[in-house]
């Protein structure tokens, strides 16, 4: 094809933009053509550029961006006003300085960030990769940036994949390639990728020159899990492929020596780059409130300017004749009073511009950076096991953490560990309780700390489960075990689902006996075998064999484990095997010896969901070891040692709609086609074949399932179906059609899947425990005491969810529990009405705290309806906890939005999985838990923590601190600006409203820039009202933030009034002192400025609640800087700012005792009211906050005592209490309720 016609070129481009598909052909065929004639040329190259600027465009682009901010435009406006001669208040050159400083600072910051981006880009673009060259007929090493769509690339094991590549060849005999996508989604397990069907030829080397087809695929999109297309060969044959053939840029090839393919997306069009969205921008509640006050400041400024303008006009009118000090214009004419007043309005804006706290915005950004620094530095929020700190992904909502009223939490992985532990199972209606396993877990569940684990190891080795002859070797290896367990425990993120807690299952003896007596021939026991086979193969668990690839994986430079690998080489290599082999009995720290143990031992399971791994481990405990899995076959070793290899015909993957997955295999001996299915009971029980015989089994199993759910276990049902060859072939044909379809493929696939999954025979059910994370009950309790409503939204069934809710103290057994479960709207409405009437008998919403509500997904869908919404919300206000079960991700976010908008409250969502992303986005604050379910939740979140328990410190301590700090700082900033500006305004009454400043303009700039800028920023970052311990002990203190007590309109006005008073004092005491004397302007201004400086600084000193070294240094430093800079300025500045003349004035004043007397008196009078109010408030400690501050100053043991006594008085009804508690002095402590969390700890 030759595209010489420009019109055709145009058309082609047009087509590309309109088409829904992209067509990629091999570049090799067109290599001889010129660049612009190649068919793939319109696709982007692989070089990435994330920089915003180029060196020559930096200044313009950056300035352009900066002037998009309102604040900078305001500044610019002021500067322009200053250049208009009739309006200027200052020397125009000087007025530019603040603007320049701010622009320069921001530009430097932007440039620095951009340089860092540039460096990363360059590093990335110059990474090596192997590209096929037609000239040399081989793969040549080039750079990532040289890669184009249509090129052929070879990827070696452990290399990072340079672009999105369609897999056409691998060195693996099965035509698969494994990739690790940790860089993309954080999932550390391996994912299997298959060569496009029909291209796999294991016997010959890959020859790109023979590739003639055209790859037709989707346009670039960001969905990591979906990709479809087909290869159209010359003979019009189409071969379909999906995401399972796509190697994603940024992932790492593992386990496969060589793989090769054609590049379909490159550079910015790759899925990983499209997923790379920038940081999020949110505006916090405090900032929203503040902005409305900024508008008040604007109004105030206009008011002041108007007074100035009118005052000037009136003043001009008072003169009958023109005095010498009126300056006519160039023509000798005098401007009319009205016009002069009009000009004066703008001059006043320039003079009083500081009233609009532009510097506040810059300061807030700095303060938030500092706050984020301290949050991420908190060692209590550091998770040793994952070696992760808390991540603050949004920099500008730290203070929202202090105002949360509703917490919406996911259950699995958030409240619970998402470490699945096999607990019990039922086979054909017979329950096996696994009591031994329960004992083992009980020991472990005490704690996860290493000390306890040694204990377990010791018990474990003495356990009768292990034959005597193995005890010796076990004992020898105890030490290695200890260290091994430690390694495992500390690094679960790298080695998903492999802690001994999950991998070791102690078999049930009864079940073992049944199995021992069983053989394949017998009818009933055949079910047992089927059950375990289903456990072992009905999953997508990948078996990774030799530890070699793991070693390599560990050696990734970015991996923190490198160090450890060096330190503990021998122990480490033994680790994988010991995990797997414990039940085989032979454990040794020596890798040489391990090699000799059974081959099957050397396996490591990688699964996408922890449930599956738990089931495979459980099957292994009974001797059904999943030994190998390839796309085509799966091998299981039976207890007898015999290896069974099933041919895998198809895998019907799990999806949320069906809630089940199936594996179609051909039995090696009987050649029967068997489908094993596992799934939620609701998804299987209705699809059973129902001969009369089965009814009993079903009934029993259902009972046991309900029991499991009541015990808080996750339940799964297992079933099988035997297909005839004919049935399978018919289905298979349909399936193939569905796969190659490009329209509605999803729907067709779903239809075929559902078609097959029916007429099941029930095999059994399993109960898997999802263990609560540590300190979850305490955390929820603390949040509750802090006045936060906790909602749990889960996809689990109500029984399981309610049980978890009880065990994590979300619900109490004394609570009144309402259930909303309705099939239609009318019923839903009446239930709602009933409940509402009932709760109203319990009093107003604030008092009723013993009510819980359970609602399921279907009913939730009904109440979301417009007319029921408000009733539901009304009911929820009365409930202290709400549990939503079986909800979809979308419903989760709808609930959050409903509560947030209807109640107008601050919400926080916390979750760990992809299903929580919507909810996390919907809430005011989204918190992600970096767990095992990948990184999607973290990517969507504002804050990412590693454990749920961290939430209490994050909210109660950091949230409280950040909120108080920032709100105090904002109030102070408003105060400071008005206090200073009002001085200038006062002077206008004595200079004919002519816009004169009695303070040198440079000093005024310095005042904001140097003298009074650092202390409030430090105040906003470091001030500490209460210690972390007190805040954690008394969560009630959090309520002050919820009610926005730190920053209210009233607080704002009080601060403004105080500022007004103080500036009047600062002006009029010097005024009356120097009245009628021969003082000149700047000499008059110096004591005013100095007194004002001290007033403003000492005002802050009164507000600072804890003085650390930093506080002292900065406060004293500011004073020092003030004197040094003004002295130096007055000494040097003979002519800096003509015609003003500040020369030697400060020195002159500092030689005059009156200067000091004036300053001292002024500062004392200005601060007296605030000081007295503080002293009086501190005396009777009216608020709980002040009371806590008093307690906080006591020595720790004494403090504990006080808080305990206070709790004993107030705890029973603490969450409803907002008034002031009487310090527990003489009254007797009320007897504690038996299950109060504080009662047992008193002993």
């Amino acid at each position: 094809m030759k595209w010489t016609n420009p019109l055709a070129l145009f058309r082609r481009k047009e087509r590309e933009s309109e088409d829904t598909v992209r067509t990629v052909v091999s570049n090799l065929l067109y290599e001889h053509l010129k660049k612009k004639e190649q068919p793939n040329r319109q696709y982007k190259g692989n070089a990435v550029k994330t920089t915003k600027y180029t060196p020559w465009s930096f200044l313009i682009v950056n300035l352009w961006e900066q002037f998009h901010r309102v604040a900078n435009i305001y500044f610019l406006g002021i500067v322009i006003l200053n250049f208009i001669p009739v309006m200027n208040a200052f020397h125009p050159g000087v007025a530019i300085i603040p603007l320049c400083v701010i622009l320069a600072l921001t530009a430097i910051k932007d440039a620095w960030e951009d340089i860092r981006r540039f460096q990363t880009d360059r590093k990335l673009n110059n990474l090596p990769c192997l590209i096929y060259s037609r000239k040399t007929k081989s793969f040549e090493e080039k750079h990532w940036k040289d890669l184009h769509v249509g090129d052929f690339v070879k990827v070696l094991s452990n290399e990072v994949i340079p672009a999105d590549i369609l897999l056409l060849h691998t060195s693996d005999p099965n035509g698969v390639c494994h990739i690790e996508t940790a860089n993309l989604d954080g999932e550390t397990n391996l994912k299997q990728r298959k060569v496009v069907p029909g291209f796999f030829n294991p016997n010959s080397p890959f020859e790109p020159r023979h590739f003639r087809g055209a790859v037709v695929c989707e346009k670039p999109n960001s969905d990591l899990n979906h990709f479809k297309g087909y290869i159209e060969k010359d003979d019009q044959n189409k071969t379909g492929f999906g995401v399972e053939s796509l190697l994603l840029r940024g992932s790492t090839a593992r386990n496969t020596d060589e793989s090769a393919g054609i590049v379909v997306y490159a550079g910015h069009e790759t899925k990983s780059m499209l997923n790379n969205s920038g940081p999020r921008y949110k505006r916090s509640k405090l900032e929203r409130m503040m902005n409305s006050d900024v508008i008040l400041c604007v109004l105030l400024l206009f008011g002041l300017c108007l007074v100035g303008a009118i005052g000037h006009s009136i003043w001009l009118e008072t003169f009958q004749s023109i005095p010498q000090y009126f300056i006519p214009d160039n023509n000798g004419q005098y401007t009319s009073s009205i016009l002069a007043g009009f000009y004066m309005f703008f001059t006043m804006i320039i003079l009083l511009q500081v009233l609009i706290p532009i510097s506040l915005y810059v300061s807030i950004e700095l303060v938030k950076m500092g706050q984020v620094f301290f949050i991420t530095q908190d060692i209590d929020l550091y998770d040793e096991k994952q070696d992760t700190r808390i991540q603050c992904r949004s920099f500008n909502i730290t203070e929202d953490l202090g105002q949360i009223q509703y917490v919406f939490s996911d259950k699995t992985g958030t409240l619970t560990e998402n470490k699945m532990v096999f607990r019990r199972c039922s086979v054909r209606g017979t329950e096996f309780s696994h009591a031994e396993n329960a004992v083992r877990l009980a020991v472990l569940s005490e704690t996860e700390s290493e000390e306890e684990f040694i204990l377990f190891q010791q018990q474990h080795k003495a356990s009768p489960l292990f034959p005597d002859d193995q005890t010796e070797s076990r004992r020898q290896s105890t030490r290695a075990n200890v260290s091994r367990s430690r390694v495992t425990v500390t690094k679960p993120s790298d080695r998903a689902f492999s802690s001994p807690l999950e991998t070791d299952v102690a078999p049930d003896q009864k079940l073992q006996q049944v199995l021992r007596g069983a053989s394949l021939a017998e009818d009933e026991s055949g079910y047992y075998l089927d059950f375990f086979l289903a456990l072992a193969i009905c999953n997508t668990v990948v078996v990774s064999k030799a530890p070699a690839h793991r070693r390599k994986a560990e050696e990734r430079p970015s991996n923190s484990k490198k160090q450890m690998t060096n330190d503990l080489p021998d122990v480490f290599s033994g680790e994988d095997m010991t995990n797997i082999c414990t039940d085989q009995g032979v454990v040794t720290p020596n890798p040489g010896q391990t090699q000799k143990t059974q081959l099957g031992c050397l396996v490591h399971y990688e699964s996408q969901s922890p449930d599956e791994a738990a089931l495979v481990h459980a099957a292994k405990a009974y001797g059904f070891t999943l030994a190998e899995r390839t796309p085509d076959q799966v091998a299981v070793r039976l207890p007898s040692g015999q290896m069974l290899s099933f041919q895998v015909l198809d895998i019907l993957a799990f999806d949320a709609k069906r809630k089940r997955m199936s594996v179609l295999v051909r039995h090696p001996h009987s050649r029967e086609i068997v489908m094993y299915t596992k799934g939620a009971d609701s998804a299987i029980m209705d699809l059973l074949e129902q001969p009369l015989l089965e009814k009993q089994v079903k009934c029993n199993t259902q009972q046991q399932l309900d029991q499991y759910a009541r015990d808080g276990l996750r339940t799964l049902c297992f079933a099988k179906r035997i297909l005839s060859q004919k049935e399978y072939e018919d289905w298979s044909k349909k399936r193939q059609e569905a796969i190659s379809a490009i329209d509605q493929r999803e729907q067709l696939l779903m239809d075929t899947t559902v078609f097959l999954e029916t007429k099941f025979t029930l095999l059994g059910a399993t109960g898997i425990e999802d263990r609560l994370q540590e300190n979850v009950p305490e955390t929820i309790q603390a949040l509750r005491e802090a006045g936060i409503q906790v909602w749990v939204l889960t996809g689990d069934k109500p029984e399981t969810a309610v049980n978890i809710a009880y065990s994590c103290k979300l619900l109490d057994h004394r609570d009144l529990l309402f259930t909303l479960n309705a099939h239609n709207k009318a019923m839903c409405n009446s239930t709602l009405n009933n409940h509402l009437e009932e709760v109203k008998r319990y009093g107003p919403p604030e008092r009723s705290e013993e009510i819980g509500l359970v609602i399921d997904g279907r009913t939730l869908g009904l109440v979301m309806d417009e007319d029921l919404r408000s009733k539901f919300v009304e009911l929820c206000k009365h409930c202290r906890s709400v549990l939503c079960c079986r909800v979809t991700p979308l419903q989760k976010s709808e609930v959050v939005k409903l509560v947030r908008d209807k109640l107008g409250v601050m919400t926080l969502s916390i979750g760990d999985g992809a299903n929580d992303v919507n909810m996390i986005r919907a809430a005011d604050v989204g918190v992600g838990i970096s767990g095992q379910e990948g990184m999607q939740a973290v990517m969507a979140s504002d804050f990412a923590i590693s454990r749920f328990k961290h939430l209490s410190k994050l909210l109660l301590v950091h949230g409280h601190w950040c909120y108080n700090r920032l709100s105090n700082m904002i109030v102070y900033f408003f105060y400071k600006n008005l206090a200073y500006v009002n001085l200038l305004f006062c002077y206008q009454f004595f200079c004919g409203f002519s816009g004169t400043a009695m303070i040198d303009h440079w000093i005024m700039i310095f005042f904001n820039l140097f003298f009074t800028s650092a202390p409030p920023i430090m105040f906003g970052i470091m001030d500490k009202t209460l210690s972390a311990e007190t805040l954690l002990c008394m969560p009630v203190l959090y309520k002050s933030g919820q009610h926005s007590e730190g920053y209210k309109r009233r607080t704002f006005w009080i601060a403004m009034l105080d500022a007004f008073y103080q500036s009047l004092v600062c002006f009029f005491i010097p005024y009356w002192t120097y009245q009628g004397s021969d003082i000149d302007i700047f000499t008059f201004g110096t004591p005013i400025n100095t007194a004002s400086f001290f007033t403003i600084t000492l005002h802050l000193a009164i507000e600072i609640q804890s003085w650390t070294v930093v506080h002292w240094v900065i406060m004293l430093g500011s004073v020092l800087v003030y004197f040094i800079m003004t002295l130096v300025f007055s000494a040097l500045c003979v002519s800096c700012n003509p015609p003003a003349n500040p020369y030697w004035i400060m020195q002159q004043q500092m030689n005059d005792p009156v200067f000091y007397l004036v300053c001292i008196l002024t500062v004392a009078v200005a601060l007296l009211p605030r000081y007295i109010v503080h002293a009086l408030r501190g005396t009777n400690a009216e608020s709980l906050h002040l009371w806590a501050r008093k307690v906080d100053r006591l020595a720790p043991p004494e403090r504990q005592q006080w808080i305990r006594e206070w709790k004993s008085l107030w705890h029973p009804s603490v969450s409803g209490q907002t008034g002031r508690p009487t310090p527990p002095l003489s009254s007797d402590p009320i007897s504690l309720e038996p299950d109060s969390p504080f009662s047992d700890r008193r002993l």
Partner: protein, 371 residues
């Protein structure tokens, strides 16, 4: 007894404290120092963990009582000193605007009269301690008007002759007098106060002149650093001002301001310097002369005096007033009762506050907190 009320915090802290102990347990085993695998672990320092030792002042009645008491006493002390200091200062003021027909300068207040002279007579019944300062005062004169203030050329005033030919625009419209550049330009210079005073003691019917000292009445820095005369041309200041015009309102050019003392001319004329230093407030006084010489070095003795005023400066048009002030000064400057009284009032207020606080303290004391 358990140390903490909430397990997590105790748990964390214990963990930190026991850190070394735990490592010790594992030292015997294979466990190496695990710093290597905790690369992200935050530094456990008092600063990063926000546990710097802090002073947490908490204002309450008990604490502020001594403070108020001390401040009150100190302030009262200062107030008394200031009050007494101010009391000892003698001031004699006389308005000579001549608005009323019975005032001596009524005749001269007519703007059309040129070279008018009037005199005020006064009697001292008490010795006026020296050194005595003679001020002239103006009311409703806004030297601090913004445009008036900038209406001068700094470079010209620092003797830069380049600006003699092209004065700065800031002087507008007082730049050129019929095309000739004005030096010193601008409204500030143009409006210079030009009344002059002579003081006589009336001794037995004769006028005994009281010597008035015009040296050192301006700021040292103005005289020595900020203001400079242009370099002399042929030893003559007048030649240096060649090609320039005098300000419109001036009777004489700058180099002839003081005919008695050639060194007190041009921009270095002290009266000019005093005038050019802008007053902060519209009612101000400016130092005119000091009485430090001859028989009057110790002050003005009891007797009758006559102040002869050459009345030139018009103020009535804009509602201004002119006055003459005789005053001596103390360490705290001129007479001003305000500061002393203010200190006394605030000091007393502090004492009262300390009493109030005492009552509050007795009522609401927090038994253990204040110890």
């Amino acid at each position: 007894m358990a140390a903490s009320c909430w397990p997590a915090s105790g748990f964390y802290r214990e963990k930190k404290r026991n850190c070394s102990a735990r490592t010790a347990i594992f030292d015997g085993g294979m466990m190496k120092n695990k710093e290597g695998e905790v690369a992200n672990r935050p530094d456990n320092t008092a600063f990063t963990q926000q546990r710097l030792p802090a002073w947490q002042p908490m204002l309450s009645a008990g604490i502020v009582i001594p403070g108020f008491l001390v401040i009150g006493l100190v302030f009262i002390g200062i107030g008394v000193a200031l009050f007494l200091g101010s009391q000892s200062i003698q001031v004699l003021e006389s308005d000579y605007t001549g608005l009323n027909s019975n005032t001596p300068c009524y005749e001269c207040s007519d703007a059309s009269k040129k070279n008018c002279t009037c005199s005020i007579e006064f009697t001292l019944t008490k010795q006026f301690d020296g050194p005595v300062f003679l001020y002239y005062g103006l009311s409703n004169f806004f030297q601090n008007h913004r445009k008036y203030g900038v209406s001068r050329d700094y470079y010209q005033l620092s003797g830069d002759t380049a600006y003699f030919k092209n004065p700065s625009d800031s002087c507008s419209p007082y730049i050129y007098d019929s095309g000739v550049p004005i030096v010193p330009c601008g409204a500030a210079a143009n409006s210079m106060f030009n009344d002059s005073f002579r003081l006589y003691q009336l001794v037995g019917g004769t006028k005994k002149p009281v010597p008035l000292d015009g040296k050192g009445i301006s700021w040292w820095t103005d005289y020595n650093i900020v203001f400079r005369n242009p370099p002399l041309v042929n030893g003559s200041l007048a030649a240096a001002f060649n090609g320039t015009a005098k300000p419109v309102n001036w009777a004489k050019p700058a180099y002839e301001l003081d005919t008695s003392d050639p060194s007190n001319n041009g921009f270095m004329n002290e009266d000019f310097l005093v005038w050019m230093r802008r007053a902060a407030l519209p009612d101000f006084r400016k130092l005119y002369r000091r009485i430090t010489q001859g028989d009057y070095a110790a002050g003005l003795p009891v007797g009758n005096y006559s102040l002869e005023i050459s009345y030139n400066y018009p103020v009535i048009g804009f509602g201004g007033r002119k006055k003459i002030v005789l005053s001596n000064v103390s360490w705290m400057g001129g007479k001003n009762m305000f500061l002393g009284v203010a200190y006394l009032v605030i000091g007393s207020l502090c004492i009262v506050m300390s009493l109030v606080m005492l009552i509050v303290y007795a009522k609401y004391k927090f038994p253990e907190g204040d110890s």
